[in-house]
Amino acid sequence: MRNTIVSIIAIILGLIAGGILMLVIGSNPIEGYSYLFQGSLKNIERIGNTLATATPLVFTGLSVAFAFRTGLFNIGASGQMLIGGLLATAIGLTYDLSRPVLLLVMVLAGLIGGALWAFIPGLLKARFNVHEVVSTIMMNWIAYWTVYYVVPGYFKGDFLETESRKLPDSATLRTPFLSDMFDGSYINLGLFLAVIATIIIAFIINKTTLGYELKAVGFNRFAAEYAGMRVNRNIILSMLISGGLAGIGGVALYTGNASSIQIGILPTQGYDGIAVALLGANTPIGVFFAAILFGILYSGTGFMNAMTEIPPELANTIIAIIIYFAATSILIERFLRKFWKPASKEQDVVVPNVKKGESKDVDNH
């Protein structure tokens, strides 16, 4: 609860700071924000696109948050997305299965691809204590170059060297019923997957013995070992889940929001996932809403730019400032505490574990 309030205040402060920047460059913040939100929410199509923008971010946010909760820092979500997207695209371009089966296989392939890419850092961490920050960065670049050569090598279209063939409509996550409902927007089945993933991850973290174990390993691997948990296995498992999530994020991006995979690009959603996770306080539900917020901001920027003279970099600046405020949330907490001081003061006096009568029996000095 407290976390939620803090995050919301951080968001508000970030928006205020953005407003001030708008004023500085001589624009009207109210107008700016009104266009920003119109841009992402004005009509059903735009809402659909906003949700589509948020979808991969839900996955990468969950990926980073899940790793965080288990004591790991996965900054390799970008690479895992690439590989997940690559495998899913490869399946989509190669096999001619009935649509439900094909999509299922593609999502699975994405999950496996991402998990595989995270498995290596997990293994290196568990077996050799290699810092996962370095290894995931390395894996990002290896993924980048793998896609760079595999796509033109095996999935190239007739004319273009820089991206794969376009997936047939039946092999994308877009479905007519959703597209029609949202007026031709890019919203796709990825969103449902994202909701499901959020619920599953929340469930795993909070309600299962697996979550209990993974968190224990994350907090104190020595205590976990003492209690008979298999520390190394858990580290690897954690990375697999984290990578799998990012992998599905790649599927959502390349076969949902797009229909082909381009080379030479490390998807920014991987790094944004860190910010999403942090703003969501590393809780799955928090991540989900943080991703939606990012979706709104990213998606509304274009319209704001189109309607006003506010430059596009401003949306990024606002997001950055929000993150900074989330990082410095302790200031906000202090402020809140001061604000609610009267209430908490009473609590302090009643010390729960001091029984009445005992506390004042002897007095001296």
């Binding site: 810092h131 290896i142 595999v150 401003l314 990082a327």
Partner: protein, 317 residues
């Protein structure tokens, strides 16, 4: 093959230097106990301020070299100032250092382009020309070594190497270094010994800011020549080199040079028939794969500062 290495070497070194100084900055920060994943953003800040300074001064000041140095100084200053954000969050407010660093990266990339466009009217800032390399007299004629190390060298290279030596000295031989290292290992001990942990950590972070700023600007004044709003992952690579180099100055030198050399090879492999026999994917991924392997090999002796990344407040033991 030898001529190829001779030819590549100076370029590998140019590429290494920004990485080196940035990783060295990261070293100061982490040794003081603050993880700084904002190196990338700080480099961007440095690249921006350096480019902007030079862009303006080149018109008014005729001494070209001085202009470039002024740009470097401004870059270091800007990086230093910007890193205060990270220091404040992670030291005064006990913020999660990863979050704060991420925020730094985001703010830096967004803000610099925003400013560049508002100040110069363009998101790219181009400088007319950077430093010129030269051969060191006498030394460059020494066989082998001369060709590798003393040919086509930039003054900035020697400057950064000097900074490296001074850094190693400061870290291991001075009062400040002792305190800095103690804050990264066990800040509670440092505090109990009367060391002002916050102040030391501030120094660590600010040094990392200044060094990364410098690193960013070095890219501009040596090989890039223009600011484009990104340093394309070099900050993260510096972070990796810091860990790869085991949080030691010489280790970092080796690690960054390895990256510099390997990526230069990978970059130029296309032009070199002798290298064209390898599948290009292998050449391009070579630096990263070798790093992973090297990390495994050196894994036994991790020298990570024990308290890096932990928030420190006096109450906690």
């Amino acid at each position: 093959m030898w001529t190829i290495i001779e030819q590549i070497f100076p370029y590998a070194i140019i590429f290494t230097i920004p990485l080196l100084i940035t990783a060295l900055g990261g070293l100061f920060s982490e040794r003081s106990g603050i993880v700084n994943i904002g190196l990338e953003g700080l480099m961007v800040i440095g690249a921006f301020s350096g480019a902007l300074t030079i862009y303006y001064l080149q018109g008014v000041w005729s001494n070209h070299t001085m202009v470039l140095w002024a740009g470097l100084i401004m870059a270091a200053l800007a990086g230093l100032l910007f890193s205060v954000l990270h220091a404040f969050a992670s030291i005064n407010l006990s913020a999660n250092q990863i979050i704060s660093g991420t925020a730094i990266n985001l703010i830096a990339t967004a803000l610099t382009v925003f400013l560049a466009r508002n100040i110069t009217g363009s998101g790219n800032i181009r400088i007319t020309s950077g430093f010129s390399p030269s051969d060191i007299p006498v030394l460059s004629s020494i066989p082998i070594i001369g060709d590798l190390f003393f040919t086509k060298t930039y003054p900035t290279t020697w400057f950064i190497l000097l900074v490296l030596i001074i850094s190693a000295f400061v870290l291991y031989k001075t009062k400040f270094g002792l305190r800095l290292r103690s804050c990264g290992e066990y800040p509670q001990a440092a505090e109990a010994a009367g060391v002002n942990v916050r102040r030391i950590r501030y120094s660590g972070v600010l040094i990392s800011g200044a060094f990364s700023g410098l690193g960013g600007a070095l890219i501009i004044v040596t090989y890039a020549g223009e600011f484009t709003g990104t340093v394309s992952g070099l900050g993260f690579l510096a972070l990796a080199s810091l860990i790869f180099g085991q949080w030691r100055p010489l280790g970092i030198l080796a690690a960054t040079f390895f990256f510099g050399f390997a990526s230069t090879i990978a970059n130029v492999s296309q032009v070199i028939p002798e290298l064209a026999v390898f599948p290009p994917i292998l050449l391009k991924t070579f630096p990263y794969i070798v790093t992973l392997i090297a990390l495994v090999v050196f894994s036994k002796s991790s020298q990570a500062p024990k308290a890096a990344g932990e928030t420190f407040d006096s109450g906690k033991r």
